[in-house]
Amino acid sequence: MNQALRKLSKYRRHRFAGPALLIVALITLGTTFQVASALPGPSRMETTVQSTLIKEGKRIFNQGCSSCHGLNAEGSSIAPALIGVGAASVDFQVGTGRMPMADMSQQAMRKTPIYNAEQTAALAAYVASLAPGPDSINEAQIAFERDGNTAEGGQLFRTNCAMCHNFAGQGGALTRGKYAPTLMGVDAKYIYEAMITGPQSMPVFSDKTITPEEKLSIIKWIKAAENEPNLGGASLGRVGPVTEGLLVWTLGLGLLIGISVWLTAKAR
């Protein structure tokens, strides 16, 4: 070690020692600065991404939505204003294919979404940028399997949801052609977003009315009902006695009368 230092020390008065040291110092300084200045970099980049997202969203909005909702989402006689509805509302309406509407019928129907996930996110970002509103939910945020309670969810569902969506979440009729859609096969995040945004005829269930944990319980119960095998045989649609009556008059009595005819047929 001593020997190595002594060897190095031999060059300290070398005529290139000065410039070499300078270069080393400059490189160190430069690299340090480069690394230090690079650290806050991503946040600035995200802002840029966000602003391009909003820009993209506005572009899609102007193309696909503004004819009804207005160029600045201020609404019109045929469509509501979207200022302050929040990203959750857009994510629900566009993500489930309800918006854009296929026709001006009583109610927007669930269908195959027109926009893909990125386009939906862009639209949501644009609408959210107009005024604050409920944020969209991603599946990871709602761990209903972990945090929900099925039985409690069932109670809450029957108190708050069954009057429109039917006891098993199969949906039901509302006035003048409107309807509460079936909840079978709906992603958990859309159920959650529907509860916090109250789409179409549905009321908003704020966190004061139904707490976030209770919302998760409701979702867990709906999923349990969806996955529950039909314990008594063919479900007949889980809509109550109407289909049961239909079956007894057709298959039940039909078979019995058919056999009566057979039993009393004259032997040939």
Partner: protein
């Protein structure tokens, strides 16, 4: 003689020596019954009643008819630790923790639906063929009583599990009781032992459902069958059949085998439905809670017409002297059903008054040969079908993408327009069928075979009916309309003149028909008519 025959003979002899049963048995075991598929409809009802007794008894072993609160701890996960009534918890227990319990529950409920549907089909057969005429008016009245009690019994039965749907039904029943003017609220308080839902209603209706009504059923069915036995079964007209005989097969062995086998067929089909198709999945409805309701809450089909009537009633109420009269419940829930069932019960007497027919009838009418009656029946059916459709208006709306308001307005108008239209159409169709019968008798059956005559004319070959077929098509009586006696021979005006005029008008409508071919018609045809 074989050994077995010897033993059998001595046992039979022993019993006969002490009871004298042989003579009675010989007479009754050889009793003849006519053969027709529509005569089996009543049997379907009888057999499903037996199935109901058996499966119902099974269910009572575990059912706890009590409204005391319990915390559910059974094996159905989504209802764990939920507070509910003991009757709901025990129904869950039967469904999930008793071996074969769910199957038995479903058999019981399907049998109840077959029981009701079979009764209605049987009633239609009796009505359209005129089997209710003298001397069978009493049996018709018993039948109407059985249908009415069947509706009540069914309603009480599906109310027992105390699930969300049945609680909703009980709530509506309470509203209908309360709608009775003056006594309604007292009656409701009496039935529920205080305010709704209370703690006594389920235990009370349990006793009525398993003891009182089945007892009355058993008694009425026994009388019903004894009357059939005593008055003998009606038969369809045909060669060799008259008002004085019964053509068919003897009870022993033909009907013993047929009817006995048919019982097992009915049981089999009920069990098949119970095993394959879910009915009243109470675990999905959840326990009853007056604060909850499900979309699309419906009664079973035999109450559906009542629900439809209530759903279409416009919201009319009167407030007078501190009392409220809810016409929107009173009229569809009590008055219209009351009128309908009274008219149905009195129909044999009404018809006999209209036609002046006081004769005994053991030969049935072909529905077309009594156009007025058939039209009245079809009209009543169309009324029930229209209001039943409205009872399911929400299910229809969601499944066919219609609006519930349009369905309601459609049925509100249709319930007034459709029955008269159906009456007129049915009557015209019946008369056309009579005309077709007449053509068939006079000109034979169209064979569809075309023949070219030597001079080039094409004719269709008509095949003459057999004598038996001709008899069947022409044997029916064609009564004449009643005459009105305006005044007697001394010129004194009949005091009942107006009533008689009305009666004559009814009678005229009732006898309207195409004349059956007579001998004169045949003669005219043979003499070169076409």
């Amino acid at each position: 003689m074989k050994k077995a025959e010897k033993i059998g003979g001595s046992v039979a002899g022993y019993i006969d020596d002490r009871t004298g049963a042989a003579k009675w048995l010989r007479k009754n075991l050889t009793k003849v019954f006519p053969d027709h598929w529509s005569f089996m409809l009543g049997e379907i009802v009888l057999y499903s009643f037996i199935i109901l007794l058996l499966s119902g008894t099974f269910l009572t072993f575990w059912f706890d008819p009590s409204q005391r609160d319990v915390i559910y701890q059974g094996s159905y996960e989504p209802l764990q630790n939920i507070e509910m009534s003991a009757s709901y918890a025990s129904t869950l227990h039967i469904s999930f923790d008793v071996r074969g319990g769910l199957l038995m529950r479903q058999i019981h409920h399907w049998a109840a639906l077959i029981f009701m549907a079979g009764m209605i089909a049987h009633l239609m057969r009796v009505f359209f063929t005129g089997a209710f005429r003298k001397p069978r008016e009493a049996n018709w009245l018993i039948g109407v009583g059985l249908v009415t009690l069947g509706i009540v019994e069914g309603f009480l039965g599906y109310s027992l599990p105390d699930d969300l749907l049945s609680g909703t039904g009980i709530r509506i029943a309470e509203a209908i009781i309360q709608a009775m003017p003056v006594i309604g609220s007292y009656l409701a308080f009496f039935a529920f032992g205080g305010a709704f839902p209370g703690h006594v209603f389920i235990p009370r209706i349990f006793t009525v459902h398993v003891l009182l009504l089945p007892g009355i059923f058993l008694a009425l069915i026994t009388i019903h069958l004894m009357l059939v036995w005593y008055q003998k079964h009606t038969q369809y007209p045909g060669p060799g059949r008259s008002e004085k005989n019964v053509v068919g097969y003897p009870l022993m062995p033909i009907y013993m085998a047929k009817a006995g086998g048919f019982f097992f067929i009915v049981f089999g089909i009920t069990a098949l439905l119970g095993a394959l198709a879910s009915i009243n999945p109470i675990w999905l409805y959840g326990p009853y809670n007056p604060g909850q309701i499900s979309a699309g809450s419906q009664p079973d089909f035999y109450m559906g017409w009542l629900d439809g009537l209530v759903r279409m009633a416009p919201p009319i109420e009167t407030h007078a002297f501190g009392h409220t009269v809810s016409w929107n419940i009173l009229i569809p829930g009590l008055i219209i059903p009351g009128i309908l069932f009274t008219l149905m019960a009195l129909y044999p007497f009404i018809e006999s008054w209209m036609t002046g027919d006081k004769k005994e009838h053991h030969l049935l009418d072909r529905p077309r040969n009594n156009p007025n009656r058939t039209a009245i029946g079809a009209m009543s059916l169309s009324f029930i079908i229209v209001v039943t459709l409205n009872g399911g208006n929400d299910i229809i709306a969601t499944n066919f993408h219609l609006t519930i308001n349009q369905i309601m307005w459609f049925t509100r108008i249709a319930v007034i327009l459709v029955p008269p239209l159906v009456f007129v159409l049915t009557k015209r169709i019946c008369l056309s069928l009579q005309r077709a019968d007449r053509e068939k008798v006079l000109h034979g059956r169209e064979t569809g075979r075309l023949v070219m005559l030597p001079h080039g004319e094409f004719v269709e070959v008509h095949e003459e009916l057999t004598a038996e077929e001709k008899f069947t098509l022409t044997q029916h009586e064609q009564p004449r309309a009643l005459e009105v006696e305006q005044s007697d021979s001394n010129g004194v005006t009949n005091p009942n003149h107006l009533k008689q005029k009305l009666r004559a008008r009814f009678s005229q409508a009732h006898v309207e028909q195409v004349p059956a071919p007579s001998e004169a018609d045949v003669k005219a045809l043979e003499e070169g008519g076409h």
